[in-house]
């Protein structure tokens, strides 16, 4: 199976080519959607095969590099189109192809009747291919191709409804912010390549080779610079402070896109990248601290904003940003396995939540359309009491909400608790660890609060939709609910493969699985770790505390949105400034406009009107005129007479020979 | 030593005498009915007087070209014939290839009608 790993990205590529070139002619939605879904499902099957084979090998042999074809060989520089299979990439391909297949299936129902149906599936397949390149690439350049590819697809899909100005703007915003991050990625790549090459004559961008040579890297210093650059790339792609504002806007895209790209896969690329290069990141304590702090801050910052949004998808978007913050927190405190574990469980429950919200929006839209109403189909204030109309959507949504809130027994609990525990207990940041843990706990409480607020506002209480169209509300078709059920199921059981050792019921399969990948990083980390010892009692205690925190959050939500409906209004009127600030996302967009966008525009205008028009155009046009004149001159030599040509040749030959003979 | 060339001298002398004798003989016993055409220096069909920058039919060129091509074949055959025995089978094959190639050309020319005057 390893030899056939190239099939995994190939299938979606085929799907993209078929739908991209012939989709317009095929027209039949079943065929287009079927091809798209089938292709990614085939990748999923191959991925399963790869995983099975990997499981069958002893732990230390679980690395395999498959060179598909030689790509660029130039002097010292060597980059092959090669794929790396190890436990980490195996997890990622399973998530991408598994969740991807379900979302493709879902899209057949959700996108039904949309103009450009084929375009959607073509882009979605292209996205999957890029994402698979990203996670499978065995060197940084292949990864970078995937990295750029997913950015492009994200741009295309956010702007899917390009006739809407807001969609176009959101797409542009996402693209530009990602570009800022990509710039960092490239600088990091060059720094690392240059450092290894010039200091140790190891000219490589291959992960396996870098890993083998990583003992040569110093602690801090150049590694800090390189890793911070890489991390800048990660903040762009994974929507962390300060480059997170594009993700909420990206909700302009169709909901399956939000589920696949902006929740389950693409935005986790930054986390994956840090995991892939854990042995480099860990060598810089400073970077680790930055990662942890940025992660924690993002987690709480986005969570607070999430509490005041009314658009169902926006709440989920901020929730995603916040959960990604948790993952970065995990990476930053050296809990790489826990971070990846949360990445996986998050993919399950967040995809389920997004798809569930899509199902709701679909139903709302349908109903409102019937009544020719122009109410906002995504505004939770128009919803309420939907559980009796859409039981399956409700159930799966509820299960996933419980999972994200961190109630024991559901997947989110295991992963989030693992992160919080390691944030507390991991020995890298000394006193800061407690602070990080505290921030994480508060963010977890906010999470429980806003997620249940969402559930209560949407599914419980009285139905606030225009009564005229109430009868038109009904459950979505099977093609939509089946993916929901599968993901809901995974949101419950997905966590059991990574149960904490402490609970003792199951061994922590997941961490053992990833051990070979992160072993080296943990080894390096010992260099500056503060030795500490924590008792089981403390771990139990903290676990209990995080459960309590979650319950508190849920209770507040229940009190405010179920028991006493007047409370939210009272709260807003008591703290109007706070509410306004949170509602307006702490005015971050305005701040960015003031700090970056407007000065850039001003500077751009200056360059354009002053420098560009006068100086650059002057030079360019001047040079152009000179060459045009020369061109006309040489053209004059071309008389068309054969004897002139022969004369020219003879003169040329004579001059050449004379120069050589008489010099 | 020069004796070896004696037969050649004989040949030259006999040829000269024979040519001269035939011319004399024909002028002595032949009939004479001179006309303008007969008295002209050449009588091969070309006008002897007039502009020399005359256009010749392209057919002449084709024939001339083909003549050269096949003439070279013949020329090539002479040295080959002299050492034919020493070359043996190898020589036969080589010449066969050469002639086949020319033969292809010959068939082509023939079918194209380049050998027909009209």
């Amino acid at each position: 199976m390893f030899e056939n790993v190239w099939l995994i990205p190939l299938f979606p590529l085929i799907g993209f080519l078929i739908n991209g070139f012939f989709g317009k002619k095929i027209k039949n939605e079943a065929v287009i959607g079927g091809i798209g879904t089938l292709m990614i499902f085939l990748s999923f099957l191959v991925s399963c095969g790869v995983l099975m084979q990997l499981i069958g090998l002893p732990a230390e042999q679980r690395v395999f590099e498959k060179v598909v074809f030689p790509w660029i060989h130039c002097g010292n520089f060597k980059a092959d189109m090669a794929f790396l299979i190890d436990p980490l990439s195996a997890v990622m391909i399973m998530v991408v192809t598994g969740v991807g297949s379900l979302i493709h299936l879902y899209s057949i129902g959700y996108m039904h009747g949309e103009e450009g149906f084929y375009r959607f599936f073509a882009y979605l397949n292209l996205f999957c291919m890029s994402m698979l390149l990203l996670v499978l690439g065995s060197n940084m350049l292949v990864m970078f191709i995937g990295w750029e590819g997913v950015g492009l697809c994200s741009y295309l899909l956010i702007g899917y409804y390009f006739e809407k100005k807001s969609a176009g703007d959101a797409a542009k915003k996402a693209f530009v912010m990602n570009r800022v991050g990509d710039f960092g990625f490239l600088i990091g790549l060059f720094t690392l390549y240059w450092w290894f090459g010039s200091n140790h004559n190891i000219w490589t961008i291959n992960f396996v080779e870098i890993k083998a040579a990583s003992h040569l890297l110093p602690y801090g210093g150049v590694v800090t610079i390189a890793t911070l650059c890489f991390f800048l790339g990660a903040t762009g792609k994974s929507a962390q402070l300060p480059l997170y504002t594009w993700l909420p806007d990206a909700m302009e895209g169709p909901t399956p896109v939000s589920a696949l790209i902006h929740a389950a896969t693409m935005v986790t690329a930054g986390v994956y990248m840090i995991g892939r290069m854990s042995f480099v990141f860990i060598k810089s304590p400073e970077t680790m601290m930055v990662v942890a702090v940025v992660g924690a801050c993002t987690a709480i910052f986005a969570a607070t904003i999430g509490t005041a949004q009314n658009d169902i998808k926006r709440v989920l978007a901020y929730s995603t940003v916040s959960q990604l913050g948790f993952m970065f927190l995990a990476m930053g405190v050296g809990a790489f396995g826990a971070g990846i574990f949360h990445l996986m469980t998050h993919a399950f429950f967040k995809a389920c939540l997004f798809l569930g919200s899509g199902s709701v929006i679909h139903a709302m839209h349908h109903a409102l359309h019937h009544g020719h109403l122009h109410d906002d189909a995504q505004d939770m204030r128009n919803m309420g009491g939907l559980k009796k109309y859409m039981p399956i959507t409700f159930l799966t949504f509820l299960v996933s909400t419980i999972a994200i809130a961190g109630i024991p027994g559901f997947s989110g609990f295991f992963s989030k608790d693992e992160i919080l525990w390691q944030a507390f207990a991991n020995p890298y940041h000394g006193g800061l660890n407690i602070v990080l843990w505290g921030i994480g706990c508060i963010a977890a409480m906010f999470t429980a609060f806003y997620m249940f607020r969402l559930v209560f506002m949407t599914f419980f209480g009285e139905c606030r939709i225009n009564p005229k169209v109430k009868d038109h509300l009904h459950e979505s078709p099977l093609v939509i609910t089946i993916p929901l059920m599968v993901l809901g199921f995974l949101a419950v059981v997905g966590g059991y493969i990574g149960m904490p050792k402490l609970m003792g019921m199951l061994p922590n399969y997941f961490e053992h699985w990833l051990d070979p990948v992160f072993e080296l990083a943990n080894e390096y980390g010992k260099e500056y770790a503060h030795v500490g010892h924590h008792t089981h009692a403390l771990e139990w205690g903290l676990m209990g505390l995080s459960v309590v925190i979650a319950v508190i959050g849920i209770t507040i939500a229940f009190t405010m949105y179920m028991a006493n409906n007047k409370l939210p209004e009272k709260f807003t009127s008591t703290f109007p400034a706070l509410h306004r600030a949170v509602y307006n996302k702490w005015y971050m967009d305005e701040l960015y406009d003031f700090l970056f966008v407007n000065p850039c525009k001003g500077f751009g205008n200056l360059l354009w009107k002053g420098f560009d028009v006068v100086v650059v155009d002057g030079i360019v046009n001047g040079v152009g005129k000179i060459f045009m004149g020369l061109s006309a001159g040489i053209r004059g030599l071309q008389t068309g007479y054969t004897h002139n040509y022969a004369l020219g040749m003879t003169l040329g030959a004579v001059v050449i020979v004379a120069l050589y003979i008489f010099r | 030593m020069l004796g070896a060339y004696l037969p050649i001298i004989f040949l030259v002398v006999i040829a000269a005498v024979f040519g001269f004798a035939s011319l004399c003989f024909s002028s002595l016993i032949g009939q004479k009915k001179p006309s303008e055409v007969k008295l002209a220096p050449y009588e091969c069909g070309c006008e002897p007087v007039g502009s020399a920058r005359e256009r010749f039919s392209v057919k002449f060129y084709i024939i001339a070209m083909l003549f050269i091509l096949f003439d070279i074949e013949a020329v090539f055959l002479y040295p080959w014939a002299i050492i034919y025995k020493k070359l043996g089978m190898f020589g036969v094959m080589e010449m066969a290839v050469f002639i086949v190639i020319l033969f292809v050309g010959y068939i082509y020319v023939w079918k194209k009608g380049a050998l027909e005057w009209e």
Binding site: P70, S631, G640, I656 | -
Partner: protein
Amino acid sequence: MDMLQFPANIAAAAGVNFAAIMPEVILSVIAMALLLVNVFINSEQKAYLGYLSLIGIVVTFFSVVSGWGAPQSGFNNSVLQDNFSLFFKGTFLVSAFLTILITDQYLKREECNWGEIYPLILFATVGMMLMASGTDLMTIFLGLEVLSVSLYVLAGFNRANLKSNEAGLKYFLLGAFSTGFLLYGMALIYGSTGTTRVAAIASYISQNGMVLSNPMLVAGMLLMAVGFSFKIAAAPFHMWTPDVYEGAPTPMTAFMSVGPKAAGFAAFLRVFIVALPAMKADWSELLWVLAVLTMTVGNITALKQTNIKRMLAYSSIAHAGYVLVGFTAGNAVGTAGVLFYMLSYAFMNIGAFAIIVLVGRKGEENNNVSDYAGFGFKHPVLGMCMSIFLFSLAGIPPAAGFIGKFYLFSGAIQAGYVWLAIIGVLNSAASVYYYLRVMVFMYMKDPTEEFDWLAVSPSLALCLLLSVAGVLIPGIVPGTLLDLAQKAILM
């Protein structure tokens, strides 16, 4: 009297080794067979000749591929079929194949549907192959003549068209003239070294170092350079190119700008690198000047052209200049770059000419750049193909043209010719102007008149498909092809 002594096994003594010339033999036999078939079929069936010649090319290609890695020398070392010549033979066959694909449609439109064109293309290809595998100046010269004579006819093939006649005649006169230089150069080399075998020339020079100061040898080298420069259309021996390329039937222009140019480079490389390595300092100096002149003259003159065929003719001159940059470098990267570039140039240039064939009208009309106004909208797929070819010609990634130029110029930099590389890059930047001008017309101008319905014959579509693949695949995945090129230059 018996002056001639023959050994018992004459064939062995003469070095007869048909494996060394197998592709040439196959292709010649097929060409002759086609010549015969041609006179026995009527004019409606001429297209079959095209199909037959395509089959012939494919068969020959297999013979070329199967010879890879197993060098065969024969005929007393006057031919050597090594990887170098095989790579070039592949290039020639590709260009002949693509050319034949676009020929049929053109011939029917111009009403000059004579079957001789196919055998002539094949004979020209045989000549090119001999040039590539010739290791004796005489073999190379014979190959060159086989090629040239076929090309003279091909250039003037559309005999009802005055411009085509003019092209054929001009090419013949100037070609014969340049052959004089080449032959004189060869004679001088023979005179000073006493041999025409390239390897023997090199060993003679290395054993008799003082011959290097012999003006006869230097002059011989220079005159050969002049002769080859004519074939590859390097300035100042390029002046025939625009007139001939413009007048010749469009598919033949495509063919001439690719195959024979590659063949010229093959022989040029072989003679100079194998026979005259001792004079490298001398000839790389000359090539430096030729490269700069060629690039600059080609690009600058192309700026003002309005006829697209003429523009591509100048562009083809400029491309010869880029390739000369790699040749001047003379190192592994640069030389491999030459091979890589000639192959990818075959795809992009013939691809572009395929579009020109399509847009053109009877009597070589509709060949102005302005005739392409609105083409990109009216025919999106064809417009995209043309854009890909133009991007590749301009050297913009991810097309093969970019990678090719990258290797040529980096070869020059590695060899220390930094200025040459800079001039090359500047030229390349200037060239973007006239390539993109076509695209500006294609996408940003409204059509002045209605486009007729363009009949894309299946063979032409195949040509476009192959060309696009040939431009994009090596552009995105250059590794494999470059490996081949690097193996090929181990002469």
